[in-house]
Symmetry: C2
């Protein structure tokens, strides 16, 4: 993936404009196919058909279905990470923007939830990616709550409560996302915002001796 000289050797897949565009097209269609069928039932042929190229051409760009999946996940992950985060309560409130982003990228959300559940199976090629991603997200949420405590934005809480609150917050995001995909009439952004604000109010109001 380096910037090649003007006379490309056979097999060169450098970042020439049309190569980049083609890769982007393949990833785009791979997201569609993976999120409709899940990873296991998806075929390189179906993805190639939607791009209008041969399966061999897809393989030339990505090596195989598994590498294509990992590339799709990497792209999805980076798209998520680009939003500014801040610290403490500002970072937590930023999750509202992530929900807005999901409503604008329904296909990617379907892909993520389908893969997260498929990948609970340790033999799934995205298993390691997903377990690491969940662990990282939980660490992020814990850190933001800890920052809020340290900045005096909310009252102190013990480590176990911090873990519980981080994990329950992540559960609410995943669960409301799933309901939003499955059932009409769910307001993803509104419901997550309400949960965030009522959690923050709870963390601010609770006296240390009271259960959260």
């Amino acid at each position: 993936m380096t910037d090649r000289p003007s006379t490309p050797a056979r097999g060169v897949r450098g970042p020439y404009r049309s190569g980049i565009r083609r890769r982007a097209q393949i990833i785009d269609k791979a997201v569609e196919v993976f999120s409709s069928y899940g990873y296991r039932a998806s075929t390189v042929r179906e993805i190639a058909d939607r791009v209008g190229i041969t399966p061999a051409a897809v393989m030339k760009h990505f090596g195989g279905k598994e590498q294509l999946l990992l590339e799709v996940l990497r792209v999805w992950d980076e798209a998520q990470l680009t939003s500014p985060r801040g610290t403490g309560l500002a970072a937590l409130r930023g999750l509202r923007d992530r929900m807005v982003w999901h409503t604008e990228h329904r296909g990617l959300l379907e892909l993520y939830l389908t893969l997260a559940t498929e990948a609970t199976d340790p033999s799934h090629p995205a298993h390691q990616f997903m377990t690491k991603r969940y662990a990282r997200t939980l660490r992020d949420f814990e850190q933001w709550i800890r920052e809020a405590v340290e900045a005096g934005e909310v009252r102190p809480m013990d480590q176990e409560t911090l873990r519980y609150e981080a994990s329950t917050l992540l559960a609410v995001l995943d669960g409301v996302e799933l309901q939003w995909l499955l059932t009409p009439g769910i307001d993803l952004v509104g419901q997550v915002t309400r949960y965030l604000e009522s959690s923050i109010a709870r963390w601010q109001a609770t006296r240390p001796e009271q259960p959260l």
Copy 2:
């Protein structure tokens, strides 16, 4: 296949003992295969192989992969519904037992979550089953909270709050279940119980003019 009477009519598949046993075996293996691969990537051949019969024999019992899936879902649904429920807070607190049941039936939980996410696609054969099931579960949760209000177990809340609390509770169940499947160290029963009890405490403590 079936335990035939001495002069069976063509097509008879009555509830003879060995027929029932064979159907149960097929459903058992279908749960394994569907929860490992998802519906779309599962094959009748794989299920048949695990039972030690031919795909044609599976088809004879269930007609096809789609009917087999719907039968598996029906069995799963009934298994869930057998637990006594009660009303109001007793019913809500009964969700703890459902989590215990999940920890004892990890394969069925994997199946349910994999299918719920796959079935967000309207063309999925379980789509209608899953959307109906989610709607019913939300109605159940709303009713239990309403019963708790009517019995004076918790303070009154408006209809919008009731819907929000029911939907967020379901989200917490799904989300914590997913984390339990994906990451080690999650205490499914403990975390859901804590969420339930802190929600109940919140509903009891809140004065009507305060936000929940």
